[in-house]
Subunit: 188 residues, 2 copies
């Protein structure tokens, strides 16, 4: 689908895990029945190629109530040019802030879930909550659709160290041949 | 402790999560009662600052039996110079291979767990298995000691994309001031 100037190319679902496996800081949008919200999350994990993901969050996070009730979210992958928005989103609360307005981000209607995509991000993954493991504050998500902005020049994601510093993606190394035996068909 | 030429500086446990949060490919050592083994894992997640980590693995992985029985492991953080060993370790099995010998890695006695540290890695985290969530193939780990090689010049970790390519750490951006309100004491 084309949204404003952005061409959101649909990404095959069996490649969606490649957006998450490198461990980027992500934005997660939710909808609580009335309003959209965004949180910044770096505690994430790929769990399957299908793809299934986990995020760690809990009731200390305003978005958790919407996740638990609405059981849907969108994981959006920001790039380095958006870092100050990402940090800003992570240091205020949806309880008293309209984060789309404050950080000038554009919500875009998703296809299969109620929370919106974020137009300014490199990629967006529509997800359904399939389990919440309360004992460990783990939310298990299944991706149902994924998009990547094919027109975007800046593609470098950012990795939180956790101490207030961030590491930007550097160069890429190809080991596809060495790894061929371990990669699912369609991903190689 | 000093091991060969490497100075393994003990890292405060409340900073150990900063080794994992950026999402690097890691090596995980186990001991099955007889032998040490190593697996390559990129499906990991920080779950708490204490620190608690998750990894996704299951019975398809030879190391899983040792993890389940021995309930200990070491997470070692390799850097880009070790990438071909990391990929090699991930594409053969401990069922028929002594990976320390094959990849010329040096096992170092850990302090609190039976599986060994890997001398050649930038950092090592001794972990106890505190839970295994079989339904989701999640192994929950608690770190009990962490070390970083203070003498190592190459510090760039590597991130698996999942399609046979890897992204090397690029430059670092400091947002400690913006994030001060969200960081636990001792980490800022």
């Amino acid at each position: 689908m084309t949204i404003g100037g952005a061409l959101m190319r649909q990404l095959a679902l069996n490649k969606a895990f490649t957006l998450m496996e490198p461990g980027p800081v992500v934005l997660v949008t939710t909808h609580d029945g009335t309003r959209d919200n965004i949180m910044t999350i770096s505690w994430t994990m790929v769990m399957d190629f299908t793809p299934i993901f986990a995020i760690t969050t809990g009731k200390w996070n305003h978005s958790f109530a919407a996740l638990r009730t609405n059981r849907e979210c969108v994981i959006a992958i920001p790039t380095v040019d958006l870092l100050d928005k990402v940090v800003g989103i992570g240091t205020c609360s949806g309880a008293d802030t309209d984060k789309f307005a404050k950080f000038e981000l554009t919500p875009v209607q998703a296809k299969l879930v109620r929370p919106p995509l974020i137009q300014e991000c490199l990629a967006n993954i529509e997800c359904k909550v399939i389990d919440i493991i309360r004992k460990h504050n783990i939310v298990v998500l299944e991706a149902v659709a994924a998009y990547i902005d094919a027109t975007r020049k800046e593609k470098r994601a950012v990795h939180a160290v956790g101490d207030g510093t961030f590491i930007v993606d550097g160069y890429k190394i190809d080991r596809k041949k060495m790894m061929a035996s371990k990669l699912p068909a369609g991903v190689r």
